[in-house]
């Protein structure tokens, strides 16, 4: 088993360990603060984890395979949400509009590769240059959205008040949907990378572009596939977040971006399961922290964990797993 699927086995081992640690922490917290409070904050943490994981998967995929610190990724989330609102405004129901918006955003990500990233690759731009281009691109996308849609918050028009109530616990219905889709999408991308021919080629691309080309991999095609998937996932994350929260403004993707980076780096950059795990840790840790500290410290907790984890595991949680395997 381990020889046939060494990648899966290493990841699975890390996943099991991580799950056990999180369950243990939850039990300790429940003893200290009571099961209801801990149960509810855990649910809230899982919801946040759903947003972070889904958003981080595309980010980690782009960095892992193309070495681009894509600062424009957050704005692709925003773009997905606003394109959905735009299509809805001409009469299409929200969810079909969302499907079209996801496809459109994936297409835009592909176009941006053709007109921005591909020329930069040809000129062998350095990581810093790519980083600066990404920041510029982020601003272009944000201000273009602002130009067409205005800067005021916009209502998404979805039912953000319905909740699933089980005993003392409650979870927003759309939050639950976002959580399920987020985990499913991150897992699917992870499985796709591990088992499909496309996934193998993308991993080959991530390891060494020149070697992948020599081995017969159509790297240009694979790069386009990466942008399509990353753009689509970003739009999906944006649409689900907007639907669950109820309103959007042109800055929301940018504001959430640092948490996405934290999740991606914490989990092990370039690893889809890592993005899932990183999002889970950041989301749970932030919400659990409110049991002990004022909520004002919540955003700090994620970054504090990131610093500590990077000191202990510089390659992130799943990065370590891969290294050991």
């Amino acid at each position: 088993m381990e020889r046939r699927f060494p990648f899966l086995t290493a990841n699975a081992r890390v996943a099991v360990r991580l799950t056990l640690v999180l369950i243990l922490v939850a039990i300790v917290l429940a003893v200290a603060r009571g099961p209801v409070a801990v149960g509810q904050t855990t649910l809230n943490g899982l919801v946040a984890a759903g947003y972070f994981s889904l958003g981080a998967v595309g980010l980690t995929l782009v960095f892992g395979s193309l070495r681009i610190i894509n600062f424009a990724h957050g704005d692709l989330l925003t773009l997905g949400a606003y394109v959905t609102l735009g299509i809805s405004a001409i009469g299409l129901p929200f969810w079909p509009a969302a499907a079209l918006a996801i496809a459109a955003t994936a297409g835009i990500a592909l176009v941006l590769d053709r007109i921005v990233w591909e020329p930069m690759r040809r000129k062998r731009a350095s990581t810093l240059q790519l980083f600066l281009v990404a920041i510029g691109l982020a601003m272009v996308i944000r201000y273009t959205i602002q130009f067409f849609a205005g800067s005021q918050p916009r209502s998404v028009g979805q039912d953000v008040l319905s909740a699933i109530v089980v005993g003392p616990f409650h979870l927003g219905a759309l939050q639950g949907l976002a959580l399920i889709v987020g985990v499913a999408a991150a897992t699917l991308v992870g499985l796709g990378l591990a088992f499909t021919p496309f996934g193998k080629k993308i991993r080959a691309l991530a390891d060494d572009v020149a070697l992948a080309e020599v081995s017969g991999v159509d790297t240009r095609r694979m790069i386009r596939l990466v942008w399509l998937v990353a753009g689509g996932l970003a739009a999906l994350a944006g649409v689900l977040y907007a639907a669950a929260v109820g309103s959007v403004n042109p800055n929301f993707g940018f504001l959430i971006l640092l948490s996405l980076f934290t999740a991606a780096v914490l989990g092990g950059i370039g690893n889809a399961y890592g993005a899932l795990a990183g999002g889970l840790i950041v989301g749970l840790a932030q919400e659990w922290s409110t049991l002990f500290f004022n909520a004002r410290w919540k955003p700090v907790v994620g970054f504090a964990i990131l610093i500590v984890m990077l000191l202990v595991m510089p390659r992130g949680i799943f990065g370590s797993g891969r290294a050991r395997s």
Binding site: Q40, N44, F52, S151, S155, V160, G172, Q175, G246, K298
Partner: protein, 414 residues
């Protein structure tokens, strides 16, 4: 000959008129007012009404000056402060470059502080912010910042009074307070908790949240925990849209126990805020005595102008603009320092009282060098040495069917 004499007489009269006109034009005070508006950002709901109030004040003062024969003409130019201190400073610099020598706005206190520290203190430019935070008074503004809006030290008393009014008593009652982690929330919380405890009430919290975080469900849970007697949420509309939804999702939230301050005062609840989060909630905002002739005149001008409905503090923006124009007329100059030096002389207690209804007379009086006491749409302005009003009127309102209804007015004083 007759025609020749007539021609010479006509030319002489025309020349004399030309000389007199050019002399008058040379003496005319041309005041450029810079509008620092939140056209984008978290308080962008405010900008249209603030813009309209300033424009109405400028047009009305220009007409009054013309009718009274006072040679002053104001124009207003605007820039977007974006809810961001650095952007606000850039906007203010751009307006100064275009000739602005007095500012109305901005609405967010960190923006006012950035503008004061980076520009207006050095140039002695008077700033009339709409922000209410007491943090504004932590800087040495050298007498350049005046507010017609009630500071949060006064609003806190009004909010405490609104909660007491709702509960019937304060003694022993628990008030759960949550706020957005910004100077507005922090300052108002401190004054409110002191005011509530002074009445014998108890405080739960505060629950403080960052507006950029992804979810607010844990915070909402903490607000409603232990079933407090009332809750106060100090927030801006964009974040409250999310916090309000999270509060409703807890299943334990009773909106009729909620009291909100002025940043959440809307004529109609915006579409991005779930109506269930505010239905039956009460709130406070800077108010004006709507029975006065000054208010009726203001409302008449407002309705004639068309466009947006009344919004919180629009009367204060009108009064700030009018006071700036009166001070410029008193100074006979658009020079920033000269305007600054005359503000106390147009709001002088004990001097002859004027209001918007006789603004032409007020302009004549100040042009003649007389001190006056301008009583505006929002009431009298007795400025403390720091430039804040020492007494203010507040509306206590309630949301019913998604609309704001003023249920009473109270005065809060230092």
């Amino acid at each position: 000959m007759n025609w020749r004499r007539r021609f010479i007489a006509a030319v002489s009269v025309a020349a004399l008129a030309g000389i007199l006109t050019s002399s008058a034009l040379a003496d005319e005070v041309a005041l450029t007012i810079g509008k620092l508006l939140e056209l984008t950002g978290p308080l962008s709901e405010n900008a249209p009404s603030q813009d309209k109030a300033i424009n109405i004040a400028v047009d009305y003062a220009n007409q009054a000056a013309q009718s009274a024969g006072v040679p002053i003409k104001a124009t207003a130019i605007s820039a977007d402060v974006q809810g961001d201190p650095q952007a606000a400073l850039s906007a203010a610099r751009a307006l100064v470059a275009k000739g602005a020598t007095v500012f109305i706005g901005p609405s967010i206190t960190p923006e006012s502080i950035a503008i004061a520290n980076g520009l207006t203190i050095q140039k002695k430019i008077t700033v009339w912010p709409v922000g209410t935070s007491m943090r504004l008074r932590t800087i040495k503004d050298e007498g350049t910042i005046f507010r017609t809006v009630p500071p949060d030290s006064l609003q806190a008393r009004a909010v405490a009074a609104a909660v007491e009014d709702k509960l019937g008593a304060a003694k022993g009652k628990v008030l759960s307070i949550a706020y957005r982690n910004e100077p507005y929330g922090e300052g108002l919380f401190k004054d409110l908790s002191a005011a509530w405890q002074a009445k014998g009430g108890k405080i739960q919290g505060p629950i403080v949240y960052d507006p950029t975080q992804a979810t607010f469900d844990s915070e909402a849970q903490q607000i409603v925990d232990n079933n407090p007697d009332a809750y106060v949420v100090i927030d801006y509309p964009d974040t409250f849209a999310k916090v309000g939804a999270a509060l409703v999702r807890t299943g334990k939230f009773d909106p009729s126990k909620l009291v909100v301050p002025d940043a959440l005062a809307f004529s109609t609840v915006p579409s991005n805020i779930p109506p269930q989060a505010l239905e039956g909630a009460r709130g406070t905002r800077g108010g004006s005595d709507t029975s006065t002739q000054a208010y009726k005149l203001f409302d008449d001008l407002w309705q004639k102008a068309g466009g947006v409905e009344h919004f919180a503090l629009d009367a204060n923006s009108f009064d700030s603009t009018t006071l700036a124009i009166l001070a410029a007329a008193a100074a006979k100059s658009a020079d920033p320092a000269a305007i600054q030096g005359k503000i106390h002389s147009v709001t002088k207690p004990g001097a002859a009282k004027y209001s918007p209804t006789n603004l032409g007379d007020a302009l004549k009086a100040v042009w003649a060098g007389q001190p006056i006491d301008y009583v505006g749409v929002a009431g009298a302005f007795e400025f403390a040495p720091n430039g804040d009003p020492t007494i203010s009127r507040f509306d206590i309102f309630e949301y019913r069917d998604g609309k704001l209804h003023v249920i009473k007015q109270i005065d809060a004083a230092e």
